[in-house]
């Protein structure tokens, strides 16, 4: 166990290091002054330029620069945004939770809807129900997420007027962002009608979450279904039947577990897709998340923000992926067989 944990710790830190190296190399790759990309400050004159160069050791060798870059990163000094002049750490810490909130809700739906439907479809393989579920999921899987979001807005916000379309909550609620997670912030906020704020925030969640969840749910159904069918054809299920176990016992004790284990790593890949979709959808729903933030940053050519945003998002994703893999490794006994650890 400790061996596995330490192995993953090393793997994680190595990956993190390479991501840091990548973001560091962006300083020289972006079409702007390295100093500017690094600090977010456009030097007004030569003296300031010189001072910044010295402060960040940009005149030294690359190794020293990188070491310095790392120490600044860990000290929490991430530079400031080229455009707004705000510290990037603050902006990212506000934007990231919004995306996490959105993705987590979507992931919840994906799991709660996708896995049961996939199981059902897999158990009833080649029946009419299976065919229906399967066709719906293939269809949903093929819808481009940005178009789906637009359709949702047109239907549910504009046509029926049921649901709001912008942001996380009506801006008239003055919720000070303490944690960045709106649901928690509402609880922490004073002077607001918490119940009203809560239901308003939930209403705001529905459309973006559904737009993201639809596609991922569809792939989750497909993956689960296939996995269930594969497991059902395994000899040990036949063996379990011959023991006289009921379908229920077989499903919960033998099928589900063995079907879900291989899904887990695929789920990690789903999260990547989900976050990509979340980033696209954010721009349509004016969701103040990291995707919206990054896309604004690229429109504004805010290089320092891009550099840190890239590092923050990829670290988050890699962290989730490695965590899922570790979890998978810990609960899946047969994984010990494979020598190589894959994240």
């Amino acid at each position: 166990m400790i061996r596995i944990l330490s192995r993953y710790a090393i793997l994680f830190s190595l990956t993190l290091l390479s991501l840091c190296a990548l973001s560091f190399s962006l300083i020289y790759l972006f079409p702007a002054e390295p100093v500017t990309t690094l600090t977010g400050i456009t030097p007004q004159n030569l003296m300031q330029h010189e001072a910044l160069m010295n402060q960040y050791h940009l005149n030294n060798s690359i190794i020293v620069q990188f070491a310095d870059y790392l120490s600044e990163l860990f000290a929490g000094n991430w530079g400031v945004s080229l455009i707004s002049g705000q510290p990037l750490s603050e902006e990212i810490m506000l934007a990231l939770p919004a995306t996490i909130e959105l993705s987590a809700c979507a992931m919840f739906i994906v799991i709660v809807v996708g896995i049961p439907l996939g199981c059902y479809s897999g158990l009833r393989a080649y029946s009419t129900t299976d065919f229906t579920i399967n066709s719906i999921s293939v269809t949903a899987y093929s819808v481009p997420v940005f178009w789906l979001a637009v359709l949702f807005i047109l239907t549910f916000s504009l046509q029926f007027g049921w649901l709001p379309l912008s942001g996380r909550i009506n801006l008239l609620f003055d919720i000070p962002p303490k944690t960045g997670f709106l649901m928690i912030d509402i609880l922490l906020a004073d002077n607001v009608d918490r119940a009203a704020a809560f239901s308003d925030a939930l209403l705001h969640l529905i459309l973006p979450v559904l737009s993201i969840a639809c596609i991922s749910t569809a792939s989750m159904i497909r993956i689960t279904r296939r996995s269930i069918i594969d497991v059902l054809n395994k000899p040990f299920i036949i063996a379990a039947r011959s023991k006289g176990l009921s379908s229920k016992q077989i499903f919960f004790r033998h099928v589900l577990r063995n079907a879900l284990l291989p899904i887990l790593p695929l789920m990690a890949m789903q999260i990547t897709t989900l976050i990509t979709n979340a980033m696209i959808v954010e721009t349509l729903f004016s969701w103040p998340g990291i995707g919206n933030w990054l896309i604004q940053a690229i429109y504004q050519r805010d290089y320092s923000a891009l550099r840190m945003g890239m590092l923050a998002v990829s670290t988050l994703v890699v962290m989730i992926t490695i965590a899922i893999d570790l979890f998978n490794r810990l609960i899946d006994p047969s994984r010990e067989k494979y020598e190589s650890v894959t994240i």
Partner: protein, 331 residues
């Protein structure tokens, strides 16, 4: 009354493009306390019979039989639950691929406990029951010849060697103290010493508890000594069936003879260094089954009549299906 009585069992597999008759009018009986060998080349449908009996059939299989009864109760028409009860209490099944037939995500101990019917557990409190359960499991494991139960009960299937897996599979089938054991090649690939152990165990159980055994194998040598009767399969058709000693002495079907001849120890008068006799060709695949007698294309005695399925003929309790049987020419 026979424990298991199967008459004209037909199994059809729908592959989506065509319907394959994988088993064609199979007859099989196992009496209480009898060891019946079910013999045939691989691909002859032995394992399909086992699956058909154990009831674990995929949706694209359709099973029809004139009779398929357990202790006089029709297995095909009884309720799902009743059938499950019979499987749980009275029939133990050992599958061919032991490791693959064990759930890879559950420890062996748990899987063994799972096979134990509640009736065999003593105690009314859950801790008593857990204790009792564990005791039965350890006993059974010892019985099949595994001494180091601690190590293996905690292990997962992929961590154990194949022969241990096979033994555990056996333990799992025996733990419910069944009336009949269906063993699908339980000694496949085992070392000879281990194999002898297992066979001895089965014989002993057969004698002491009058356990009926359906022993499926292509290893004639191993089962010839212990079985009472034998059924020979070829391509999903029953070729010959009868008492072991009768068949050994005088096989009536050309295929049975070929099978016997291919095992050197059965042909005592084989000259040294001579070639073993074999049938020409190979066993056809399920998709390309010949019509009529399925041995037809390979049979040295085939004649025109062989395009029709031969009827079952019976001499005492020795039955065969052949138009031109051996040793009966003069009749």
């Amino acid at each position: 009354m026979p424990l298991l009585d199967i008459k004209n069992l037909t199994l059809e597999i729908d592959t989506g493009t065509q319907v394959i008759k994988a088993l064609d009018k199979i007859n099989l009986t196992v009496n209480s306390g009898e060891i019946r060998a079910l013999v045939g080349e691989s691909g002859s449908g032995k394992s399909l019979i086992v699956q058909a009996i154990s009831g674990a059939t995929p949706p694209n299989w359709s099973i029809t039989a004139d009779r398929m009864s357990w202790n006089g109760n029709n297995l095909l028409s009884m309720s799902e639950q009743k059938r499950r009860q019979i499987l749980r209490k009275d029939i133990g099944v050992v599958f061919q691929h032991a490791i693959a037939s064990l759930d890879p995500s559950v420890t062996l101990g748990e899987q063994l406990e799972e096979s134990l019917p509640d009736q065999l557990i003593e105690g009314s409190w859950f801790w008593q029951r857990a204790q009792s359960r564990r005791k039965v499991v350890i006993n059974t494991v010892h019985k099949v010849g595994i001494k180091d139960h601690e190590q293996y009960l905690r292990a997962y299937p992929h961590q154990i060697p194949t022969d241990i897996g096979q033994k555990l599979m056996l333990a799992m089938a025996l733990i419910s103290q069944p009336k009949m054991l269906i063993a699908d090649d339980p000694t496949r690939g085992m070392e000879t010493t281990t194999k002898v152990q297992v066979l001895k165990l089965l014989s002993r159980l057969n004698q002491t508890r009058s356990l009926g055994i359906l022993f499926v194998s292509h290893d004639l040598l191993a089962i010839a000594s212990m079985s009472h009767s034998m059924t020979v399969l070829y391509c999903g058709q029953t070729v010959e069936s009868g008492k072991m000693k009768h068949i050994r002495k005088r096989p009536l079907h050309p295929y049975t003879k070929a099978l016997m001849d291919s095992a050197p120890s059965f042909s005592k008068d084989l000259p040294p260094k001579s070639q073993l006799p074999t049938l020409a060709g190979t066993i056809p695949t399920l998709q390309h089954l010949p019509i009529g007698c399925r041995l037809g294309p390979r049979c040295p005695r085939a004649q025109r009549a062989c395009v029709n399925v031969p009827a079952v003929r019976k001499i005492h309790d020795h039955s065969y299906s052949c138009h031109f049987p051996l040793h009966r020419d003069k009749v």
